[in-house]
Symmetry: C2
Subunit: 131 residues, 2 copies
Amino acid sequence: MGQGADHLTSNQAQVLDHLRAANAPMTAYQLLGRMQNDRGAVAPPTVYRALKALEEAGLIRRIETLRAWAPVATVRPGVVVICDDCGTVRGVEAPGLLESLHERLVAEGFADARQTIEVHGRCGDCAEDRA
Amino acid sequence: MGQGADHLTSNQAQVLDHLRAANAPMTAYQLLGRMQNDRGAVAPPTVYRALKALEEAGLIRRIETLRAWAPVATVRPGVVVICDDCGTVRGVEAPGLLESLHERLVAEGFADARQTIEVHGRCGDCAEDRA
DNA sequence: TTGCGCTATGTTATACTATAACGTATATCC
DNA sequence: GGATATACGTTATAGTATAACATAGCGCAA
C-alpha cells in the first residue's frame, strides 16, 4: 500500500486512516475531533506531530489553500485540483508543466525548487449539476 | 502606478504603502503592528478589511504558503517564486504553462479554474552566497 | 541488570491567523 | 430630513499551530 512508509506509530496510523476514509481533505482540528471520539483526551500537538511525520514520510500533504490535509494517494503528483462545491480533491499529472517551470527557474539560478500548485473551481460533476 | 485602483480609503492606502515598502510579504499581524505604530489603537478587523478590499481590487495577493500578503506589483502574473533564505518574492511569467493546464482541466469538465502556484527554494543571490 | 540515549507521546500553555457581530460616523441621493 | 450604503471602531471569539517541559518505553552497551 504505502510508499515511504516505515512502521507508522499508532497515532500516525490513526490519523492516516481518518484521512484516507474521508472524501475530502480534513483540517487538523477535524482530525483532533475524530481522535477524541476514538480515544478520549487528545491534544493538538498529538495531531500535529502525526501530520508532520506523515508529511515527511510522503504519505500526506497539506493543501495550503484549504489549510487542510489529504493523503497523497488522492493527490498524487504536482497539481492539486479542488472542487469548491463538493470539496473533493484529486491530483492531476502535469508532465511537461513542472519540468518546464523547473528548467526556467534553474536557468535563473534558483535552487532547490519545490512547488505548490493548487487549482480551485468546480469539478465536472458539480458543474453539470448546475446546468 | 496602480491598476484596478479606485480611490482607496486611507486604511487601504496605508496597508498598501506598508506592503509596497517591505521587501518581503508581510503577515496581517505585522501590518497590524505597523498600523499601531502609526496611529495607536488598531484592531485586527481593520487590517483584514483593508486586505480584503485590496485583494478584490487586484492590488495585493495572499501568499498561501507564507500566510502573508504581497503587492501584486512584485508578484505579477501566475507563478510566485519565494526565496526561503532572504524572504523575497517575485512573479515569473509562465505563458504556456497556465494555458495548457487550463485546457486540460476544461477538457475534463472542470469549470472556473483559479490556480495558485507558488515555488519555494533559494534565489540566485542566496544560492551564490552558499557556494 | 542497570543506566543511558533515543523516540514518541502526554500535558499545559500560548502564539498566531482570521472572522462574527454589533455599534457609530459619514456621505450620497431622493 | 430620512433612507440607504460604505467604511470603520470595538469587543469577543473561532480556528490554526507550536513551545516547552514531563513521562513512558525501547534498545543496547557496559
